[in-house]
Symmetry: C2
Subunit: 671 residues, 2 copies
């Protein structure tokens, strides 16, 4: 696997060179030349966005070498994407298209948003194509042919509402129209990914045909047209990325119309909460309703701000972001506390056992914060991205790459619940969403601005890109992050050049040291980008040493379930206890962490694909009571010594079913 | 106050004698003589119910003497009822009637169920009249005149939908019709209470006129009539009690129709959950939706079972009751975990800080269990009643009798919440509901069956009633319950008689001794009625000694917020910690109870009207962290010794605002 992997990166490097050549052929800012600079476009392409502070680098410009994420990405390419493609076939998602083309006699299957499963897989595979070309090209091409085969002359494309269900098309605003647009939004994201991978614009053409041929003539804010609502936000991001690719402002304006809502649509107040759409986005004051909808709406609204600079949007986004980090986000970066409506709860309503924390919502959280980082260059957004990525997103895919969490709770009792990981869900949003996140991951490591370069994330890797001044630059990172806190960054501009390198010091770091060519940089502090503005010469070295002492986190006193408890975090990783790691299989709810004792830090190469575990001597509180009543008299208790062993949260539920908890009771030395 | 109080009980005793005389004039079972046996009727009158195991005794047959409840009842009569009457006037609730009579120019005020506020007060005052005659007679009479002045010739009566809002009458099934029937249900309960206090049937006549004149002609299951739904269950209980008073089976049948629901009414699945009505009661499988609606529906359905013996009802009620006690009831007897929709949560969803626990829902819990006790004679129902009454209901009214909790949470943070006790709520359901519960309390102490007498509850008191054999009997209880566990019961039949006395041993008792005329009764155990079937002679004495050692209760491991915590209970009382009782004002969330240490039991006559407090040396865990973020690194912790002082839960929030918690972290001796 490792060998195969390296060969792929050779191919990747070759493609990156081709991309660079393609990019050079484009006059920056030439919006009419939209179809030719595909290889220079990042996950979101803000190079022409007037109100961004950052510009991304293409996925292909960053090559991850062996390490934490690369192991996951190899599994993603070799296991997750192929098996998910087979499952989509098996569950009839492609036959839904073939039926309309007359090449399959299968019946339409799956919910009315099932086409989006195919689009999300195509998007994931397309991002993967940037790093690992050729593996999925035939499959993607087959999907493109399905789209072309099914799209109606007027541009409409949705297998559920073609043929006999045509009369139901665009008839139910909150759900059906919402999901027709949701499907289209995912098609747009897939199209953009495919375009940025290969320059192939056939899927983009399908999208434009749908919007220009079907939506614009019939739908919009004009009195002569029917109103539309983004019942499941997603199309906003899609439309704005389509605008970024094409330069056609009508797509941006349509996104703006959708973000405003249209009062002609009769939505109840409950709808407007649940859908997080249908009313002006700028009237929102808190995160509420369906968490994935909320995160996608916020992402789209941030994209809209980046293009328009509308200050009301930034003000609303800031209010909502403060609600996120002060009252609504799990320590894992997961969001959406409630199973009912897959929704945000009240402020500080963050239960652990019943936490919903849908994988897609954590991914949406990362997507939103990536856009907010563009809008503000505030490193707190990178901190939230990192928290979500390493924990509440990463937990969503098994180490094998073929089993997925839909929910990502912070405590688990296997006797009270079905399996938490499954290979397939009938609403299979999370698996391809996890796949696209891993596939596009290199695109989140760096940004440029006119002054220089930002380093957001850490991994053995090579950046091969250029400064905005035009000077080509390579950056080599050597690190064992997130297991260790040392990061060596070698900066090699093609020629000596003045620019600023800004290295992110994560907010969690209690200590940090940084050197510039061996000389200590003074004034270090965490939660900042440390800027070195200088004349950079090839081979200049920045080294960073982050303190990796495990930390015990306590929650705001309004988080009821976490009181008297701690969550243990080391570096970017949140830890948890699984009963199977404890001597005697002690349930985490009986364990107590000694708040005054240090953890031993032990690397275990053979455990869970290689993890660092944390161990200490804590307590076990054993309560004797009969089990068959809601409340029973404790007939006695005893506290004994217990060896506490913690594993990274992302790796939970990869062995036999076990009880799990992130938040653990504490004991303390007597003072 | 004590002196005045005694004079009242002299009056009460005189009335009890009159009642007995009235009762004797009635041939038992003569349903045509329904208007003349009023003085013998209890809170619910099951004397002619074919499927009851118990028959109540009238409120007036039991005189409570000095003690725990009598202190509350004196405050209820002297403070709560008079001040609530004044508040109802001040907030225009009586003027709503006068407006329609032309004697007030005030505008209609309050929500469309505001008439029920007046009815609930009238009911409370009527029950009080049985123990303390004369105080409220004029006010009740004035209310009767309002009803008579406003009722339309066709029987309709609802100040909100008379006059200009007449076209909206009975137009919105789920809410408006539901609450028109809800109001009528409370009018029925008030009418029954007034009738049982005085024999005055004017209010009953209003109810019958409404049902016979307005409802029956237009509404019902027949195709020619419009369907109705009990959108807020309450009328079921009212109709069945009207049936019990009048013997007119059409009222029972109407209750049965309403309990079945009527599929002609277009209700959504969410409505059917929330309203806990509109679909067949016997199709319910769990407690869900609005908690007060659920408890009232279950109460009405149990009444229906007591009259019809329909086994499907008892099966459903048993299923729901098991859900209550295994998964949905707070340790205080409160129910309804969620603020949203004032609803039951999922099984084991029992948060403390955000617990809703509406006072009315706890009262509904007691009402339902009183009816279940009639259906089954199972002492577990009396245990639930006691738990709710002493804790989650009793907490609803301040010691002053003029401030009320609408919510009864199990933890509280005054900095994050408005005042928990208020003198008035615009939906002022809880205050008069608490008042009626205290006013009718003596009616819950005893029952008879054909074999003899049941003793359900304990208080200094005198029962002056008769066995079903006809033999008059007096029972004197002497006890300091719930503060102490000794109860002396002197039984004095007018002449020696063979019958069974069944004394309830509460389920919480860890030890119990009982003697019969000084001789130990063998085979004692808790959670049973201990039966003494013998020839009873005047002055025979049963004494019971219940162990009153404080108990630490633990919750089922699926109750997430209570893990690692204990609730302390002594006898019937659940305890809590308020920060103002702790040295240094330590917040309860920082306290740890030593699970292996005993509590010192200290009577404090001057505290909170006289309570027994529990004290022990526990721990304080102090966590040092910055306060302004959702998750912060604990920079150190220390555990010190802390004097833990607990007060009864019912007495919380009667001093300055303080943090409070029922469930407390535990420490344990090292084994």
């Amino acid at each position: 696997m490792e060998h195969l992997n390296r060969r792929r990166f050779m191919k990747s490097a070759a493609l990156a060179a081709a991309a660079l050549a393609a990019r050079r052929s484009i006059a920056a800012g030439d919006s009419t030349a939209w179809s030719s600079d595909w290889a220079a476009q990042s996950v979101i392409d803000t190079r022409r966005s007037p109100f961004t502070k950052l510009h991304g680098v293409p996925v292909r410009a960053v090559t991850l070498h062996d390490g934490f994420w690369q192991a996951r990405r190899v599994v993603n390419m070799e296991k997750s994407l192929p098996t998910m493609h087979a499952l989509l076939e098996e569950h009839g998602r492609m036959n839904n298209f073939r039926r309309l083309m007359g090449t399959s006699t299968a019946k339409q299957i799956g919910p009315y948003y099932s086409d989006s499963d195919v689009y999300k897989w195509a998007e994931a595979a397309s991002w993967a194509e940037q790093s690992d070309t050729g593996l999925f090209r035939a499959d993607i091409d087959a999907i493109v042919k399905l789209l072309e085969g099914v799209q109606e002359p007027n541009g409409y494309l949705n297998t559920y509402f073609q043929d006999d269900r045509k009369p139901q098309r665009m008839t139910d605003h909150a759900q059906i129209v919402g999901h027709e647009l949701y499907n289209l939004g995912h098609l747009m994201q897939a199209s953009v990914a495919q375009y940025r991978a290969t320059g192939d614009r056939r899927m983009l053409d399908c999208c434009m045909k749908f919007v220009d041929g079907f939506l614009f003539p019939g739908f919009g804010r004009e009195a002569s047209k029917r109103p539309i609502v983004s019942g499941h936000p997603e199309i906003e991001m899609g439309l704005i990325e389509l605008y970024r690719v094409t330069g056609e402002k009508r797509y941006l304006d349509l996104a703006g119309y959708i973000l405003e809502g249209d009062s002609r649509i009769p939505l109840t107040p409950d709808d407007i909460v649940y859908l997080f759409s249908g009313a002006p986005f700028t009237g929102r004051t808190r995160l509420e309703g369906h968490a994935v909808r909320v995160m996608y709406a916020c992402s789209g609204a941030t994209d809209y701000y980046l293009e328009t600079g509308d200050a009301k949007y930034l003000a609303t986004l800031t209010t909502l972001w403060n609600d996120l980090v002060r009252a609504q986000m799990y320590v894992t970066g997961g969001v959406g506390a409630r199973r009912r409506h897959e929704a945000f709860g009240d402020d500080f309503e963050l239960p652990n056992l019943t936490a919903y924390g849908e994988s897609c919502a954590a991914i949406g959280n990362m997507m939103w914060n990536w856009r907010m980082l563009h809008a503000t260059a505030d490193p707190r957004h990178a901190d939230v991205m990192e928290r979500a990525l390493y924990n509440g997103i990463n937990s969503g895919m098994s180490l094998s790459g073929t089993m997925y969490c839909y929910r990502n709770p912070l405590a688990f009792d296997p006797t009270a619940s079905g399996p938490i990981r499954n290979p397939w869900y009938d609403t299979t949003c999370c698996p391809p969403n996890l796949q696209r996140t891993l596939a596009q991951l290199p695109g989140y490591f760096y940004s440029t601005d006119h002054d220089g370069l930002y380093v957001h994330m850490f991994h053995n890797s090579t950046l091969d890109w250029k400064l905005e001044s035009g000077v080509p630059v390579k950056v080599e990172q050597t690190t064992d992050y997130p297991w260790e806190g040392h990061v060596r960054i070698v900066v090699t501009p093609r020629e000596a050049a003045k620019f600023a390198l800004r290295v992110r010091v994560p907010g969690w770091a209690k200590t940090v040291r940084m050197t510039m060519n061996g000389a200590e940089i003074p004034g270090m502090s965490a939660g900042k980008y440390i800027e070195q503005a200088r004349l950079w010469k090839p081979g200049d070295v920045v080294e960073m040493e982050l303190g990796m002492e495990p930390q015990m986190l306590v929650a705001d006193r309004r988080v009821a379930e976490d009181q008297g408890k701690v969550a243990v975090q080391r570096g970017a990783l949140v830890y948890c206890a699984e009963s199977i790691d404890q001597a005697g299989n002690i349930a985490p709810r009986e364990l107590r962490v000694n708040a005054d004792a240090k953890f031993a830090i032990k690397r275990d190469k053979d455990l869970l694909g290689g993890v660092t575990v944390l161990e200490q001597t804590g307590e076990r509180l054993s309560e004797k009571s009969s089990a068959d009543a809601l409340y029973t008299a404790m007939s006695g208790s005893s506290a004994g010594v217990a060896a506490v062993r913690l594993i990274p949260y992302y790796a939970w539920a990869n062995r036999e079913p076990a009880e799990m908890a992130v938040w653990l009771d504490t004991a303390a030395d007597k003072s």
